[in-house]
């Protein structure tokens, strides 16, 4: 089993005719993902790699039974593309786009609360259920099917941890990169709840980073609601306060002692979650759980 995406996921790619959209559509398809449609306004009727393109997500969902969308739309138009997905029959939208203005995302977030559609991202690598479906830009070859769930705010750090797992023969149910922006759809708590409900996920690796309070909230959730064991990693222990390090999310606010690596590690520790000093140590903890 898996969470959110699997063999039955039928993907529409928003922005399929763009460079990135086209490249990753090929990659997703060659991984075996069921890409059934593209959606680009004004490009309806065309084909990209044999995939029919529609003018709207609505049409793609209606004509091709698409139930998930992956969004490769430039930042200035991406929030509108996400809103289009949220207001369509697709059940899951995965926004890869980096650099969406924060206020656009605040408006998207307000709509998320009234939409039945889940959002992963933006500014994320996507989601993969090894051997079944890959929605996004994750390098498929490092993943392997298995019984560990993975959720991470960071892209390449995800790959690193997955690699540490796969190299020692530990496969994954599903891996989700939730993205490092200040405002995102699916967060740690959402993803952990899905993994807790998935009978095939025997352990979860969770990669956080400094900034915000998401890891603290995740720790509280784990302590209160999870039986599945979780191992954690927090990037940015050495980041100086107030310095922006790549992710908009990775700013230590300094206010009230939260948001720092220390507060996150402490919170996880309090919830009984072992935190690795290195990515490889996370794999050690996971291995010990199994």
């Amino acid at each position: 089993m898996s969470i959110l995406v699997d063999d039955d996921t039928r993907v529409v790619v928003q922005g399929i005719t763009g460079g990135e959209g086209q490249f990753h559509t090929e990659q997703m398809m060659s991984y075996g993902t069921n890409v059934v449609a593209g959606a680009v306004p004004g490009r309806g009727g065309q084909e990209v790699d044999g995939v029919p393109v529609y003018d709207t997500v609505e049409q793609a969902a209606r004509e091709e039974d698409a139930n998930a969308s992956v969004i490769f739309v430039p930042p200035a138009f991406a929030a509108d593309a996400v809103l289009e997905a949220l207001d369509s029959p697709v059940e899951l939208a995965v926004a890869i786009t980096e650099g969406i203005p924060q206020q656009d995302m605040a408006k998207v977030y307000a709509q998320l609360e009234v939409s039945d559609t889940d959002l992963i991202g933006p500014n994320c690598p996507g989601i993969i259920t090894p051997g079944e479906a890959k929605l996004g830009i994750l390098p498929g070859n490092i993943f392997a099917g298995g019984d560990v769930g993975l959720v991470s705010r960071s892209g390449t750090l995800t790959y690193q941890v997955v690699d540490n797992l796969t190299q020692r023969g530990i496969g994954q149910t599903t891996a989700i990169g939730i993205g490092g922006d200040p405002i995102i759809g699916t967060d740690f708590v959402d993803a952990l709840a899905y993994f807790e409900d998935d009978p095939d996920t025997k352990a979860v690796a969770m990669c956080g980073e400094i900034g915000g309070q998401d890891e603290e909230e995740a720790a509280a959730f784990i302590g209160d609601h999870m039986d599945t064991p979780v191992a954690g990693f927090i990037a940015g222990r050495t980041a100086p306060p107030g310095k922006r390090m790549g992710h908009a999310g990775a700013i230590v606010s300094g206010g009230g002692g939260t948001g720092t690596a220390e507060s996150k590690i402490q919170a996880l520790d309090d919830a009984g979650v072992p935190v690795g000093d290195t990515p490889n140590e996370v794999a050690d903890h996971i291995e010990a759980f199994l």
């Binding site: 203005p101 307000a110 750090l157 490092g180 790549g246 992710h247 206010g255």
Partner: protein, 380 residues
């Protein structure tokens, strides 16, 4: 992007907010002329983007020309928390009876904007927030609707702002919110909003940070962006388009993806070294970016060794290897030892290409960092 106080006040004034009359000055004479035009008393305020300027001696209240000369001479050229002061704002001094705080920011935990007001103005608001959180009235805002007048009034009255000035302060708050929304700000703060003896509200300070991702539609604000003052390397990083932060250690770090680069820094620390920088070349980097990144890290005199850690997703290992080879080919002698670790997409192809005469190759993240730290040990 942070606006300077004088820039933010210009934006405020354009939105009809009450700000004191002011002039920007780069020399003592200009400061004196500005003070004459405005009329004494005036405040002479260092235009650098740090908090706590007052305590650090960056703001002086002056009554006459002699004092203005003294203050301007002292402040211009001053080093304020590591930043060089090359301009001062000369501003009409407000005769106030009370100081309030007003601000708008994003509450990322709720994904919603929040407008705040407090009667505890003129002091460090983060301290107030930590020690007496109820002293700050907060209104969360539906970003589609914006801050409604009744919400602003509710916040202002809840905060305990004097009734005589309350509706004015409520209007300041809604205007700040509207600015925040229209100008794609991430944060706007006025600390203090001064209340005069005539019950007028005046925005005596102005902090405004703008979303870098939205500058494409904020041309007026984008035009206010200046070359990063001070650090030459950070300016260079800006030019190359890297996410770069200079730190105080001696292990140069290059990687792809913020989380992985932060992790590399953490590992340097874990193995007993100190990171010299954070440098994220981003996703899908081609050979030229790799060359530029190496060029930057080599330019940092503090750097004694370099660890190059790439986990390919969109970024391809062969492109990275090509870039490393090209960058190192320029040198007769490699200036600083370079440890390379490639994994993920096309890592094998990259390893084959890589000129291992010039770099040390490691298989794992941990071993790569450990080796780079070792290389610095002779130089410590």
């Amino acid at each position: 992007m942070k606006l300077h106080e004088y820039q933010a006040k210009g934006v405020f004034a354009g939105a009809g907010l009450p700000v004191p009359e002011s002039r920007l000055a780069s020399t003592v004479d200009e400061a004196v002329a500005a003070a004459d035009e405005i009329g004494y008393p005036v405040a002479v305020k260092a235009q650098v983007q740090v908090g706590g300027r007052g305590k650090a001696g960056g703001i002086e209240l002056v009554e006459n020309e002699t004092e203005t000369r003294e203050a301007a001479a002292a402040i211009l050229g001053m080093d304020l928390k590591g930043l060089h002061v090359d301009r001062v704002l000369v501003e009409s001094a407000v005769d106030f009876v009370d100081e309030l705080y007003a601000g708008v920011t994003m509450d990322r935990a709720k994904g919603e904007p929040v407008a705040m007001v407090s009667t505890e103005g003129g002091v460090d608001i983060e301290e107030v927030a930590a020690e007496n959180p109820d002293a700050i009235a907060r209104e969360h805002v539906d970003p589609a609707s914006g801050l409604q007048p009744y919400q602003a009034r509710r916040a202002v009255f809840e905060a305990g702002v004097d009734r005589e000035v309350a509706t004015d302060v409520a209007r300041v708050l809604t205007t700040l919110y509207d600015l925040w929304a229209e100008r794609d700000a991430t944060e706007i703060e006025v600390n203090p909003v001064m209340v005069t003896a005539d019950d007028d509200a005046v925005c005596a300070d102005a902090v405004m940070n703008v979303d870098d991702d939205a500058l494409f539609r904020q041309s007026e604000l984008a035009a206010m962006e200046e070359e990063a003052a001070g650090d030459e390397l950070e300016a260079k990083a800006n030019e190359y388009g890297f996410d770069y932060v200079r730190l105080s250690g001696n292990v140069g770090i290059i990687g792809n993806g913020a989380g992985l680069v932060m992790t590399t820094l953490d590992l340097v620390d874990y193995f007993g070294g100190t990171p010299a920088n954070f440098l994220d070349i981003g996703g899908g980097a081609k050979a030229e970016r790799v060359t530029n990144a190496l060029d930057m890290v080599f330019s940092d005199e503090n750097v004694d060794s370099v660890v190059f850690n790439i986990f390919g997703g969109i970024t391809r290992g062969d492109e990275v290897a090509k870039g490393i080879n090209e960058a190192l080919a320029q040198f007769d002698e490699i200036p600083k030892p370079v440890v390379v670790r490639l994994a993920g997409t096309n890592a094998t192809e990259g390893m084959e290409i890589l000129n291992t005469d010039l770099v040390t190759v490691e298989e794992t993240l941990e071993s790569a960092v450990e080796r780079a730290v070792e290389y610095t040990e002779g130089n410590q």
